[in-house]
């Protein structure tokens, strides 16, 4: 894979030529915060952010998506036939995704794309997308990616990784998809050893700047029942108001709920993000709810991410240290504290 260099002043033209082949998604600032949006014709790249408020997982798995539709009109030909809703999967570029969010997509991938089950919508979207990552020169003080198997310049899940070297970007191509994009965008100037060195230094400095860390080494050896019955859950869970903030902002949360909405004769089978924090999450049709109490739900979320996932996939915790839940939890429940409590039990 090749290493290239692009001048920042050439970026608008590069984006313009990318738009000829791809739909370009990049962080856009609206209402005071950034989200990944499809760049409109005149919009350019804005990299003045630490990270987007919502993770880019909504590009792969939209918060609300119509999967199937059906017609209940007895008079029509296709009555009662459930049809897959037509969708487009044009080639797309996710420009400026952070390494933590890119790794998160790989983590979530084990759920939506594995030998047993393949979610066709997720799979098709992943195939159509090329991920251009932007390494973090200035991590936030709530970032703790380095202790959960990631880092400010981690390459997992990316097709290209950009290093912001002030006047220019060092462009590291990591996959065939990445190579193809460089070709399509006309990025062909090879990187010299100077910029390569600079990029290397940037990476090391950034990793040192990560000031927050969590202990994870003992999580896999702990007994599930010991963690489950630990005495600290009441304290951890008290403040929780059981909203969906942590789950919806988290790049590794993947739970969803499928519902039919029928208005007159039109039926839609819709998938919505769901949250284990909501009381209805485990409500059975019988009326029984195995997680009716708040403490059970809070415990479930942390056990899932920091224990069950660890045991099941042998690939570390289901957390990439992006820090969104820490920053936006209305009552300041801090997952970093829970890491400590669980690891050090």
């Amino acid at each position: 894979m090749s290493d290239k260099i692009i001048q920042k002043k050439d970026l608008p033209d590069i984006v313009k030529s990318l738009k000829e082949t791809y739909e370009v998604f990049a962080p856009v600032k609206e209402n005071g915060f950034y989200s990944f949006k499809r760049l409109k014709d005149e919009q350019g790249i804005d990299f003045n952010l630490t990270n987007t408020r919502l993770s880019p997982k909504s590009l792969l798995s939209p918060q609300s998506e119509r999967m199937f539709e059906f017609n209940l009109d007895e008079k029509s030909e296709d009555v009662n036939i459930v049809k897959e809703s037509p969708k487009d999967y044009p080639p797309a570029v996710i420009f400026g995704i952070r390494p933590c969010d890119a790794k998160a997509l790989r983590l979530v991938n084990v759920n939506f794309d594995n030998p047993e089950f393949k979610d066709p919508w997720w799979v098709k979207r992943m195939e159509s997308m090329t991920f251009i990552g932007l390494g973090c020169n200035e991590p936030s003080n709530t970032c703790f990616c380095t202790s959960v198997g990631c880092g400010p310049f981690n390459e997992e899940g990316l097709d290209i990784l950009l290093f912001d070297c002030e006047e220019s970007f060092f462009v590291k191509s990591l996959t065939d998809k990445g190579e193809k994009l460089l070709e399509k965008a006309g990025i062909n100037k090879d990187a010299d050893s100077n910029i390569q060195k600079k990029a290397h230094v940037l990476k090391e400095e950034a990793e040192k700047k990560i000031s927050s860390s969590v202990p994870t080494k003992k999580l896999s050896e702990k007994k599930i029942n010991d963690l489950f019955n630990a005495p600290f859950w009441d304290d951890v869970a008290f403040a929780c108001i059981n909203c969906g903030t942590c789950t919806y902002l988290c790049p590794t949360c993947w739970c969803f709920d499928i519902q039919d909405e029928i208005i007159k004769h039109q039926g839609d089978r819709i998938r919505n993000w769901d949250s284990c924090m909501f009381p209805l999450f485990t409500l059975h049709a019988s009326g029984h709810n195995p997680r009716s109490e708040k403490v059970q739900r809070v415990r479930q979320r942390f056990m899932h991410k920091l224990k069950y996932y660890v045991d099941k996939y042998n690939n570390g915790v289901a957390c990439v240290g992006c820090g969104r839940c820490v920053k936006y939890c209305p009552v300041n429940i801090d997952i970093r504290d829970v890491f400590k409590l669980m690891n050090d039990l």
């Binding site: 939209p62 609300s64 998506e65 119509r66 909405e261 208005i263 039109q266 839609d268 819709i270």
Partner: protein
């Protein structure tokens, strides 16, 4: 919204008010806001 007190002994008033409300609704026309024809989702 239209509120009126009408006793069951005031059949004439009931007919009047009902007619008035129906006329007013027809004048306003079909509801346009807060209507969901189909979920606006991806």
């Amino acid at each position: 919204m239209h509120f009126s007190w009408i006793s069951s002994a005031e059949a004439g008033k009931f007919a009047e008010v009902a007619t008035e409300v129906i006329e007013n609704i027809k004048k306003i026309g079909p509801i346009k806001k807060l209507v969901k024809e189909r979920a606006e989702v991806a």
